[in-house]
């Protein structure tokens, strides 16, 4: 498969159409059957692969930034007799295990982004289910605020994964049934074991959808519901959106360069080093709208997001990501102050929420994350989150002989205390200090203070501080040791340790996906030569190992 590119825009969509009509946008799924990322796979019945979902993620993102006037988004199908048949099974069967897992992760992030848009950006989502919605198709709908199902006596919603494919719904379907839609567990059990799902009155009675609408009043009702959802939003009708032009990116054999970020690829050491550059000049409040996508906090968020996705999908063997920064911490803090003071501005709100999602994407990335705070770095405020997202953070104490860059400092801003909650609903610092609330208190008191390595270590904000004598050797040993461990065990270890604190629907979705789905995907009952996933489409029956584990 060619390298997967996450950069797209509506003029290049093959599978979606985005149409805005005042406060309402219609996002129409009309999958091009010949447009699969996998050669020879036919995307029948509005089934999707990663390529389809990349466009969806792009549309959801653009709606937030480019269309402040859009208050409600109606997701509908452009095909007559189907809403969406879910993830394409032939594509899944052909994909490697790591692609499948990354695909599920990405689609989950996109559905959570839909829920985030509704909850925090007041951009509500309506699922206009005008035909059968199976598996991932129903799960996509379940991410929306309001589900309307056409009552034509034949269209059903269903989660047929278990009876049909011997796997589980992969995009939070089970969790949203019980936790979000609060479907009774026995009914959920029946629903998930019934291939054809539920339609009409039963679907409403079981809370699988919010309403059923006859075809004759369908179009009018979709519009009416979309407008009603729009009325619950505070998005500014008169604001001008900002364009998100294509990211500038150069990919070489061992380096990827963006305007504010570069990635060095060291395949020998299975290492990707991501270096973020701070703002070249202190951002100015008056300039936010004029700069738009080049406004430093937004530009860096986009580049970091793209880099993470690129590494996840296209560089599976680079098991370690080292995070670095270069620049003036004071300038980063000016940007943070802007994001803090103008939090009520719709665009600033979007930028903050985007950073939240990018950082969560990092949290969910199955690579060892090490942040190195070195002389000349600018880990302050928002960028300091990269220190708290990492599995370990090492800080350089003092300076190197002959190096005239300033000593490494770490600075907190107000944004480190709640602007960027993790999936568990807590800030990274809160999660870090779950067992020592006094450390969180102390951290609050040093907002804006430039902390040298010794202080940062003392405050528990970094893992360790090393001076010139030890630094190179300690870092080398740490990276070499890490690269020698089992990649699988590391993925599990890191996910466990990063996921401290309370459970939320989001943590449950990812936790259960990793624990159950990824296990089932590996088992012979699904993926073996006689497994359901492998045999799907051939008509042949899977052979199950009867042993319950």
């Amino acid at each position: 498969m060619d390298a997967i590119d996450f950069r797209t825009d509506p003029s290049r969509y093959r599978h979606w159409r985005l149409e805005c009509e005042g406060p309402v946008a219609f996002l129409t799924l009309d999958v091009d059957p010949a447009g699969s990322l996998f050669p020879g796979v036919e995307l029948k019945l509005n089934s999707y692969d990663l390529g389809v979902d990349i466009e969806l993620a792009d549309a959801v993102q653009r709606l937030r930034f480019e269309h402040p006037e859009v208050r409600a988004v109606a997701i509908r199908s452009g095909k007559d007799n189907v809403f969406c048949a879910g993830a394409n099974i032939a594509a899944l069967a052909r994909a490697s295990h790591q692609h499948k897992v990354n695909f599920c992760k990405f689609t989950n992030e996109t559905r959570l982004a839909i829920e985030d848009a509704s909850e925090h950006s007041d951009q509500r989502y309506l699922a206009a289910i005008g035909g059968p919605a199976a598996g991932g198709g129903y799960e996509l709908a379940a991410a929306c605020d309001w589900l309307m199902l056409v009552d034509d006596h034949r269209s059903a919603v269903s989660l047929p994964e278990l009876p049909l494919l011997a796997v589980l719904p992969g995009t939070g379907g089970l969790t949203r049934l019980t936790d979000k839609r609060k479907v009774r567990r026995d009914r959920a059990d029946l629903f998930c074991a019934t291939e054809e799902g539920a339609r009409g009155r039963r679907a409403v009675e079981w809370r699988l959808v919010d309403e059923c609408v006859p075809p004759s009043s369908w179009d009018a009702k979709v519009r009416e519901r979309a407008l009603a959802l729009a009325a619950t939003s505070d998005r500014p009708a008169e604001a001008q959106g900002i364009a998100l032009p294509p990211l500038e990116r150069k990919i070489g054999d061992d380096a990827i360069a963006y305007p504010h970020l570069r990635v060095a690829l060291d395949r020998g050491r299975r290492l990707a080093t991501v270096t973020v550059t701070g703002p070249t000049q202190a951002p100015d409040a008056a300039e936010i709208y004029r700069q738009g996508a080049t406004f430093w906090p937004l530009a860096v968020a986009r580049e970091l997001d793209d880099a993470i996705l690129h590494l996840r999908f296209n560089e599976a063997e680079l098991g370690i990501i080292v995070l670095r920064s270069e620049g003036d911490p004071a300038a980063v803090l000016v940007a943070d102050a802007l994001l803090d003071e103008r939090a009520d501005d719709w665009l600033v709100r979007e930028i903050r929420l985007y950073w939240k999602r990018v950082l969560k994407r990092l949290d969910m990335t199955a690579r060892s994350l090490f942040t190195l705070i070195e002389p000349g770095s600018c880990f302050a405020g928002t960028l300091a989150e990269l220190c708290f997202a990492a599995d370990r953070t090492l800080m350089f104490a003092g300076t190197r002989a002959g190096d005239n860059r300033p000593a490494a400092i770490l600075t907190l801003s107000a944004l480190n205390f709640g602007a960027y909650p993790m999936g568990n609903g807590l800030s990274r610092l809160e999660t870090r200090f779950l067992g020592e609330p006094e450390s969180l208190q102390r951290a609050r008191q040093i907002i804006g203070v430039s902390l040298p390595a010794e202080d940062a270590a003392e405050l528990g904000l970094v893992t360790a501080a090393y001076d010139e004598v030890d630094w190179d050797e300690e870092i080398r040993l740490m990276l070499e040791e890490r690269a020698s461990f089992s990649p699988d065990a590391l993925t599990g270890l890191e996910a466990n340790l990063r996921g401290a604190g309370p459970e939320t629907m989001e943590t449950r979705i990812f936790g259960r996906l990793s624990a159950w789905q990824n296990w089932i995907f590996q088992r012979a009952n699904a993926a073996g030569p006689e497994g359901a996933l492998k045999l799907y489409g051939t008509g042949r029956r899977p052979k199950f190992d009867p042993e319950r584990v």
Partner: protein
């Protein structure tokens, strides 16, 4: 259980399935019955409910017992539940369970698949009755009127057959589905019938004959495939339904044949040699052959859509599971398992129509469709023989499978009846060359005037060669009420 070959006429519902000994099923059917009669009155033939119709009723399932003729008012027709006799020791003839004992009860693992098969088949039966409900008002003769009603009551009995399976074998879900079969309505926007062709209008008798020729033939193919089922009650039900379905085919084959015959005769009488001189042919009060061709194009394409996608996981599943076989599975000489076999499928590849070998299991819809097309082509040749005998230089033919499709490989493209791909604009421009235009429909509609005198026929259709049940030409097949 009573002897399955004997029909019990004592109860409300004639049957050979021992209904009296099965109070649960009897209760279910008896509670469904009033709703069924309401449906028949509201959605069955319009305006002839009190007429006496010379109908065939099944009184037994053996070869000489299933066709008893007599006058009956349609609402009093003895719809019932009749299964072909059980074959001792029958085994599952194909798929992964080949050679195992045929199922007498629904296997749990296939409950959903089987129910779906029965519901889809069941939904088509009342649909065609609904589609044809207004045709009685314009019947070209009492003979044809009677044939229409015979088709209608038998389609309705086929509904009974499917309802029996749902209620007997599928529990509460089955009972709900049985109710839904009465609730959906052909062509209704809010609760349409499940399959596209069964929501199309049947506006005139030419359409009716085309429907019985093409679409009822799809029904026959599906029943033939289901008659092979390893689920024995389904197999037995469908085997008996097939004896009735043959008559529907006969109505379509001879109906179009008689129209063709009359058109050719009229042209000859008037000395017209050019069958494409539509205006002059129509002036004779008969239907021109090019319009018949266009109607055939329409109905053939609509019917092909009923076979589903050329490559179908579902078709593979139901075959492998032993639930639905191929047409005449028992006559095919292969392993009946098909896991290693391939089948040639016509596909669209990079804008071209090509033939590809694909795994035979996933190509079963295509195979059934090919069997259908071969049979339909043979029927068309019988019409061509009539044209040839009249000395007219014209041939009717089936359009290419890519023509005017809404389902499957060719749903996204346009093609002419020869299979040449057309742009959307060209299709729009030339559509009326291939399919009946509004003017064609209006002309056919203008001919639709009822003829109710015994022995007389509308001027656009020839009389049949022989009567039903050996009756003479002037037999009063329908005694119209008051």
């Amino acid at each position: 259980m009573s002897d399955s070959a004997t029909v019990d006429y004592d109860g409300l519902i004639p049957n050979n399935v021992g209904l009296n000994a099965d109070p649960r099923l009897r209760r279910a059917l008896e509670s469904w019955h009033p709703g069924y009669l309401d449906w028949w009155r509201a959605r069955g033939p319009d305006g002839f409910q009190d007429s006496l119709v010379y109908l065939r009723t099944a009184i037994g399932v053996d070869s000489d017992g299933w066709a008893k003729f007599g006058y009956v008012r349609m609402p009093d027709y003895r719809w019932g539940i009749l299964l072909a006799p059980q074959v001792e020791g029958r085994t599952i003839p194909f798929g992964a369970h080949k050679g195992e004992k045929a199922w007498q009860e629904v296997p749990g693992e296939y409950r959903a698949l089987l129910r779906r098969l029965v519901v889809v088949q069941g939904d088509t039966e009342p649909a065609s009755v609904e589609q044809q409900r207004l045709l009685g008002a314009t019947a070209p003769s009492l003979y044809d009127l009677r044939n229409l009603f015979q088709v209608n009551v038998e389609e309705a009995r086929h509904l009974w057959a499917m309802v029996y399976l749902l209620q007997k074998y599928f529990g509460r879900d089955g009972r709900e589905e049985a109710e839904e079969l009465l609730r959906r309505r052909s062509g209704d926007r809010d609760s349409p019938r499940l399959l596209g062709a069964f929501n199309e209008a049947t506006p005139d008798w030419l359409s009716f004959f085309m429907f019985t020729f093409f679409t009822d033939r799809d029904g026959k193919m599906q029943l033939q495939a289901l008659a092979q089922s390893g689920f024995d009650p389904l197999s037995r039900t469908c085997r008996f339904m097939l004896t009735e379905e043959a008559h529907h085919m006969f109505v379509g084959q001879t109906g179009i044949g008689r129209i063709v015959e009359r058109s050719c005769a009229a042209m000859r009488e008037a000395g017209l040699s050019d069958p494409t001189d539509i205006e002059r042919v129509r002036a004779l009060g008969v239907i021109d052959l090019p319009t018949i061709q266009k109607k055939a194009n329409l109905h053939f394409a609509l019917t092909l859509d009923l076979f589903g996608g050329e490559i179908s996981t579902n078709a593979a599943n139901v075959f492998n599971a032993g639930l639905k076989g191929r047409y005449r599975e028992d006559k095919i000489a292969d392993d009946h398992v098909l896991t290693g076999a391939t089948y040639a499928v016509v596909r669209l590849r990079d804008g071209r129509i090509v033939t590809e070998e694909v795994p035979a299991l996933s190509a079963l819809n295509m195979r059934l469709r090919d069997d259908f097309a071969a049979e339909a082509a043979a029927g068309v040749e019988r019409w061509n023989a009539i044209i040839a005998r009249a000395g007219i230089a014209y041939r009717l033919r089936l359009p290419h499978v890519a023509f005017n499709r809404r389902i499957g490989e060719f749903a996204g493209i346009e093609a002419d009846p020869d299979g040449n791909l057309l742009s959307a604009e060209e299709w729009q421009r030339r559509r009326d060359e291939f399919l009946p235009s509004a003017a064609d429909d209006a002309f056919v509609a203008s001919l639709m005037r009822p003829v109710t005198e015994p022995g007389k026929f509308a001027p656009w259709i020839a009389p049949p060669r022989t009567g039903i049940d050996g009756k003479p030409g002037d037999f009063e097949y329908v005694r119209l009420a008051g």
